[in-house]
Amino acid sequence: MSHESTYQPNSGAERWLDARLPVLRLMHDSFSAFPTPKNLNYWYTFGGILTFCLIVQIVTGITLAMHFASDSKLAFASVEHIMRDVNFGWLLRYIHAVGASMFFLAVFIHMFRGIYYGSYKAPRELLWMLGCVILLLMIITGFMGYVLPWGQMSFWGATVITNIFTAIPVIGTPIQEWLVGGFAVGNPTLTRFYALHYLLPFVIFGVVLLHVWALHVTGNNNPTGIEVKGPQDTVPFNPYYTVKDAFGLVLFMLVFAAFVFFAPNALGHPDNYIPANPMVTPEHIVPEWYLLPFYAILRSITFDIWFLSAKLLGVIAMVASIVVLFIMPWLDTSKVKSLRYRPMMRPFFFLFILVCIGLGWVGAETPDKVLFALGDFQYQMVHLGLTLTAAYFAYFLVILPLVGILEKPSPMPASIEESVLKGRKPAQAA
């Protein structure tokens, strides 16, 4: 729902600029007058929160880069230098480290919101896919950032993850050696990860611009999933959503600050305060919490199928778990966007959240941990991982197409305005 520009240059300088580079017009139309559905709830504040997260990571990251030494002999000590001797270095580093977790927390909520209200469906497929690209870039950037302090988990995490590439037949090992810059993770790995960790956030920034652009072409989805029908359905972005987003952001910042100031290491692993040692492998190698579900999928397949090794299948499953998000708009057969009016689909959505959290739990545990035994058969953590992996894919490949066909949607209001006036009856979202 692109809209007519309502920008009025009020001074000579503004008219002069507007005739040459209408950047103020762009700002006005995009972030001030932009007509936004009037029924957006707090789940919709996470877009703004994510912009904040990206800026925080870039600003703290650039400042940390001024003090960090990307050399395997110096990296760990330079982080301690930041923590002990750089003015407010401890604050910068804790904000950056906790910020990564907050960024992922916000992006997961943002995506679950998109799934719940059907924001990935036409006409917002590209908007959704650009978001998936951002998620992928975030995962790569977050992983590389975790390697930089050159602690034990950094080193061994890098070893495990780069070894993923060796699963590819024939060309896998050469690719892995090319990526790490040697036969094992070492100084060349650290320096290139540092270079890429500095580069990728700006790539993310670029894709975020495209994401916002795409958003401003189609306009926001909203909790009813009904498209905007006219001006009665919308309010201008400013001041209505600037103030609501600001309030949501400050609530988020409270959680963020609680971690930074009172539990800065709660989301990290103690082993990363031990300098990297290629001769000593940690007992359990685990990634950061936000990558655990993907890690669980990677490890869930323990059997070969035909000529495909278990390792390769695990890698394929992990890659597929993200690829499947991209094709989600075409897997959903329902004409109704919002799960508020999809009684059959709604329980599956909440089950899906549980599956994702369950995968995170499995990723954190040792695979051979026995959950229960039936006679000789032991149901281990890895079996739960496989079950949940199957459930994860079933949500996209079976439930989403099938329920859309079988389901009878609840009665829907005719417009956003009507839903607002009547309250949220008849279908009350949980």
Partner: protein, 269 residues
């Protein structure tokens, strides 16, 4: 969907995220315990007690430093705010009791006429000198085991302070069914229960100038506090700033909520 349910959902999601992390951190050690008085540095208003840190430094210096390095801590740090609270003169005096590597000299020599490494008296700017020249020397003196650097120990173990405290005060005789490897000691708080470090503390191992009785528990408690400070010297500053930031954000949230209600007052949504 009421606000409480929404808030509840956010908190639930958050707790779920949090509950994963202790699982990551859980090591093999058997449930380390916290001293019954707790840790002064935990909690929102956590802080260090200068006298405890000074006693802890004495234990570290007299016992731990014989084998363990602490390479990221400098003498000057002990006069900084939020630490042991030594005066600069005290720190100078402490530093002056230590020798640090000084070679090469202006002739390019690294050893003196007896072939020993050149050293000089330490100043507050120097970092705590290591007890051994290198890893090989450290292993040779410790039955092949490497005493780890202690700068970050309190953060490098799950539930670090309580783990260190339990370990130091928790040595016991090995149960009958356990076969101790040569040179190893039994400690139920160490992974696999066998470690190369013999019980380092015994009743009266140090003499506290303030008259505190040097029991094993007391020394373990003091040195654990010191190790926590060494690992997290900015903790007091962080928690104090955190309180101010949280207070500010609460206030801002209140003002923004009020603005939000005001702005949206005549819009049905």
């Amino acid at each position: 969907m009421s606000l409480t349910i929404r808030t509840g959902a956010i908190i639930a999601a958050f707790t779920a995220a949090l509950s994963i992390s202790p699982a990551l951190a859980a090591g093999d050690a058997d449930h380390p315990h916290t001293p019954h008085e707790g840790w002064s540095f935990s909690g929102i208003f956590g802080h260090y007690e200068a006298e405890t840190l000074q006693r802890g430094y004495l234990v570290y210096e007299s016992v731990c430093a014989a084998c363990h390095s602490m390479q990221y801590v400098a003498f000057r740090n002990m006069a900084e705010p939020g630490g042991p609270g030594f005066t600069m003169d005290q720190v100078r005096a402490i530093a002056a009791q230590h020798q640090v590597p000084a070679g090469p000299n202006e002739f390019g020599e690294t050893v003196d006429e007896y072939g020993l490494p050149l050293t000089r008296t330490a100043t507050p700017a120097d970092y705590f000198p290591a007890p051994f020249a290198n890893e090989q020397a450290a292993r040779a003196s410790n039955g092949g085991a490497l005493p780890p650097d202690l700068s970050l120990m309190a953060k490098a173990r799950a539930n670090g302070p309580s783990y260190i405290y339990s370990l130091l005060a928790g040595y016991e005789d090995a149960p009958e069914e356990t076969e101790l490897q040569p040179g190893m000691s039994y400690n139920p708080f160490f992974p696999n229960h066998q470690l190369a470090m013999a019980a380092p503390l015994y009743e009266g191992a140090v003499e506290y100038p303030d008259g505190t009785e040097a029991t094993v528990e007391q020394m373990s408690y003091d040195v654990t506090n010191f190790l926590m400070w060494a690992a997290e010297p900015k903790l007091e500053k962080r928690k104090r700033m955190g309180f101010q930031v949280m207070a500010f954000l609460f206030l801002l949230a209140g003002l923004l909520y009020w603005s939000y209600r005001k702005v949206w007052a005549d819009i049905k949504h």
